[in-house]
C-alpha cells in the first residue's frame, strides 16, 4: 500500500506563469508517454512478474512515477496562477480553461483525456519489460521537446531532473530484463511464458 510524504521529490518554484507552456507540459501528466501512464503501466504489470527483482523494480519505479505526476502537476499549478483573461485567450489556453478553469485534469497537449489505451500489461514479462524500456525513452524524448520549448530556468530545472530520472529507470528495466532472461532457457527465451502455466 502507499504512504504519502508531504514534500515534492524535487523542488518547483516558478516565478513567471505561462498558460502557453502549461498547454504543452500537460502531456507529461496525462499524455501518451506521461507520468500517470508510466505509474499505471508499471504498477499494473508488477502482478504478473515471476521474479522478485522485477516485482521490486516495477513497484518502486511505479511509485516514483506517482511522485513525478505530482511534480508535473505542481509545475502546471504554478504556471497557471494570476492569469488575466487576455493571457488565457492569447495563449490558446482558453480551450482547456472552458472545461477545467485552472484546475488540473490529466490530458495530453492534444486535448485527448488520459487513457489506459496508451499502455499495456500483457502478462508476459519479456513483452512488458521491453515495453517499459520504450516507455522510458518516450518519456525522455518528450522532456527533450519541452526543454526545446522554454528558456525559463525555473521550469527547466525540475524538467531536467525528471528527464534524468527516465534515463535511470531505463537502466533499471534493462537490468530487470537481464535478470529475468538469466533464469530462462538460454537456447530459447520464448519456450514458455514464465508467468503462465495452463492447468492440464
Amino acid at each position: 500500500m502507499w504512504e504519502y510524504v508531504k514534500q515534492l521529490e524535487y523542488p518547483v518554484r516558478i516565478k513567471n506563469p505561462s498558460p502557453a507552456l502549461a498547454k504543452v507540459i500537460i502531456s507529461q501528466l496525462g499524455g501518451p508517454d506521461g507520468e500517470m501512464g508510466a505509474a499505471s503501466r508499471y504498477l499494473s504489470q508488477r502482478y504478473a512478474m515471476p521474479t522478485a527483482v522485477a516485482k521490486g523494480a516495477l513497484t518502486d519505479i511505479g511509485s516514483e512515477e506517482l511522485g513525478h505526476a505530482e511534480i508535473v502537476s505542481a509545475i502546471l499549478y504554478q504556471l497557471t496562477r494570476n492569469l488575466s483573461m487576455e493571457e488565457i485567450k492569447a495563449s490558446g489556453f482558453d480551450t482547456y480553461f472552458v472545461d477545467h478553469t485552472t484546475g488540473i485534469y490529466p490530458q495530453a497537449a492534444s486535448g485527448m483525456p488520459f487513457s489506459a489505451a496508451t499502455f499495456q500489461s500483457t502478462g508476459d514479462p519479456i513483452a512488458d519489460l521491453v515495453e517499459d524500456l520504450a516507455a522510458e525513452q518516450k518519456a525522455r524524448l518528450t522532456y527533450d521537446n519541452i526543454l526545446r520549448l522554454t528558456d525559463d530556468p525555473d521550469v527547466r530545472e525540475p524538467i531536467k531532473f525528471l528527464r534524468a530520472r527516465e534515463i535511470v529507470h531505463f537502466q533499471r528495466f534493462g537490468e530487470a530484463l537481464r535478470n529475468l532472461t538469466d533464469r530462462l532457457d538460454s537456447r530459447n527465451f520464448y519456450a514458455f511464458n514464465p508467468s503462465f502455466k495452463p492447468k492440464k
Partner: protein
C-alpha cells in the same frame, strides 16, 4: 535561505539519495557497497526528517505529534510556493 527551507532541503536531498539507492538495490540486491551507501543515507535521512518534523510539523501523517489540533492538513501543500 530560511531555516525551514534549509531543513526541508536536507530532507529532500537525503530522501532522494534513498530513492536512488532503493532502485539500484532492487536490481543489485547483493551489492555490499550499495547496501552500505543505503545504510549511511538512511541515517542521514532519519536525522534530517526528525529535525524538520520537530520544528515544522509532520511530513508524514502517521508522525503527527501536535495534540492541540490536527496540523497535518496545514498549508502550504507541496505544490504551493510559500509566499
Amino acid at each position: 535561505m530560511s531555516h525551514k527551507k534549509q531543513l526541508g532541503r536536507n530532507v529532500q536531498q537525503t530522501r532522494f539519495a534513498l530513492i536512488e539507492a532503493n532502485l539500484y538495490l532492487d536490481t543489485h540486491p547483493n551489492c555490499q557497497e550499495g547496501l552500505a551507501y543505503f545504510r549511511k543515507q538512511q541515517q542521514l535521512y532519519n536525522k534530517a526528517v526528525a529535525e524538520y518534523e520537530a520544528a515544522y510539523g509532520p511530513l508524514r501523517a502517521f508522525e503527527q505529534t501536535e495534540d492541540s489540533y490536527w496540523n497535518w492538513i496545514d498549508n502550504p501543500w507541496p505544490w504551493e510556493t510559500e509566499e
